[in-house]
Symmetry: C2
Subunit: 362 residues, 2 copies
């Protein structure tokens, strides 16, 4: 089987690594949003008992990683590598989390695209049997992101309608080239028990950086939408799939404005509008209610990380979804690049998740 | 062949990916140092014609990547992924470089360990034939690092003797699962021409984060040395090798003080001192003359990246070295973690480079 054709951005995983387990931890506001029930841990207090927001974020990520590991039935010694990233300068949340867990560590940075970036390389490591098991994760925190990228919270500044609300959230997964020996029985809404579906990573598309020339750091959705569209179109072309092959296609954190732009661009590129409306959504548009005063929706690495680890994974193992394409989306501006006149480049990586009852995987 | 044993940190690459080409670009001071002749490009002016230091650094990295690609005989379309990182917040140098080159991009962050982190994952991608060819690279710049991590240059502050000088340097490599079709003839010091040796990546050890409790941000070498020692000892244990299996063992940027600490720790762990003295060195201790007023030596992602891409690779293809273990070393502090009372965790990843005339690779 050809894993990667020349000029293609898509890698096929012949051994279809399994996601053994996931875990998600979210803040108070996220825990009151529409996806509340899908998250494993909802904090009552976003400090998580720590003295600084950065330590709170790192602790959230560590809690997600630890819980995912526990659920996987694997031990620390079984994990060949941990791939993780966050938005903080020098990956402060991930570095200190990884110091405490003491597992071989590879730091990833793709801004809010980090979850699918880590999943891509984690899938390569496990599919190729370079590691039997790997852990991946990503996090963000509203208070650390505001302090670093925008204004200190104490400043109480106004936010334009196009601004997004960085999700206080962390998501983690354990990937494996084998299948978990004992499957835990799960129950559906009606209380009927069943053996959970096995969720496999079948292929992934590595994104190119696309720069639409947006210079307004409060227009992140607009800056990232063209990258998401580019990656999706390349994914479809490389795999010969159409969007109807998926039950659900999710972008990371384009928010309301970015989601509309992405849809317009996709329809413009020939994707039928009705088919798109039926299966396309954005984690940033899903994680909060519009009434939660988040302007253009959620953002941050942790937004897509927690929605994939919570909502998407759990619906897959329940058999409610069979084929999902997840695409975390990142805006690659730095804290100083806008001051140097730079525009905001975007990137998106796509990963196809499929259950075995979803039919032939590739 | 088992690529990775449970509990081991070392991955064996059965297909032994080839480093097709490398390129290095260094600043004025580095170009006047003892390794001057081994670098491809020595800048006359560290601004590189740009208006900000950050843009200068990004341009250096782009120049190194472009030159490595040119030398490899591959085209952009042949490159499945580019893995790169730097020290700047949000990987500013790498992101803007990757935007301009328009190749599928995966951002890496391991502080100064980035070069061997990227090489590790690049080797996994090519060894497993997930990508036929990948590019990797890393950069640093004295002026961007001072501004971000220490004091603005204009401040003219004094530096303690333990401080290191961030190298203005970039290194890049093209890795492949195939061999270059046409080998360029190279000449040795005496003008004798020969076909260059083929340099292969045979195995690599993913580092764990080691925190020795150092809290002084001017003691980077001391903070990183225990991580380098841990990775080297694990590498030797996992592979059953001894240090005499290598002609040269290089750490990234421990500098004079860190190098001495690493040697003390290794001798304490039972490595014979004479054997260590004969083959161990540190890129941070090599890139500058002591007379160049750099205190404890060089540092920065670009330090080991340029020394590996320049000095190490060129000595390997000339047949002057046959087996080299390279270990970039990173200090995972952030710009704010020391102010929150955190110590400085260290990490190091090791990669074994071997030429075919060096005998059996694994």
């Amino acid at each position: 089987m050809i894993k990667n054709k020349k000029g293609n951005q898509t890698i096929v995983f012949p051994n279809k690594p399994v996601i053994l387990s996931t875990a998600s931890v979210v803040g108070k506001k996220e825990g009151k949003g529409p996806l509340s029930q899908w998250f494993d841990t909802r904090l009552e207090d976003d400090t998580f008992g720590e003295k600084t927001w950065e330590k709170s974020e790192s602790k959230m990520l560590k809690a997600a990683m630890t819980q995912a590991l526990q659920k996987s039935g694997r031990s620390k010694e079984d994990i060949g590598a941990m791939l993780s990233g966050d938005l903080l300068n020098q990956l402060m949340s991930s570095s200190f989390m990884a110091r405490d867990l003491h597992i071989p560590f590879l730091g990833m940075y793709g801004a809010c695209s980090t979850m699918t970036e880590s999943l891509m390389l984690g899938a390569v490591l496990t599919d190729g049997q370079y590691s039997d098991n790997v852990m991946i994760g990503a996090s963000s925190h509203y208070c650390t992101a505001e302090r670093q990228f925008r204004m200190p919270l104490e400043h109480g500044n106004q936010r334009p309608p196009s601004a997004q609300w960085t999700a206080t959230a962390a998501g983690a997964m354990v990937l494996s080239c084998g299948i978990k020996e004992r499957q835990q029985i799960i129950a559906d809404e009606e209380g009927n028990t069943k053996i959970p579906e096995i969720v496999r990573v079948t292929c992934g598309t590595i994104g190119k950086i696309i720069d639409a020339g947006i210079k307004d750091a409060n227009q992140m959705g607009a800056a990232m939408a063209p990258a998401a569209v580019d990656t999706l179109l390349n994914h479809l072309q490389d795999t010969g799939r159409s969007i109807t092959d998926y039950d659900l296609i999710l972008t990371g954190d384009l928010g309301y404005i970015g989601k509309d732009i992405a849809k317009d661009l996709l329809v413009g590129a020939g994707i039928p509008k009705q088919e798109l409306d039926n299966r396309y959504d954005d984690c940033g548009a899903m994680i909060f209610e519009k009434e939660q005063d988040v302007h253009s929706g959620g953002s941050g690495c942790g937004c897509s990380a927690s929605v994939f680890a919570g909502y998407v994974y759990k619906r897959l193992i329940k058999g409610q979804l069979k084929k999902v394409l997840i695409m975390s989306t990142g805006a690659l501006l730095s804290t100083i690049s806008p001051f140097q006149g730079e525009s905001i480049p975007g990137i998106a990586h796509a990963i196809s998740l499929e259950t075995e009852s979803g039919g032939a995987c590739v």
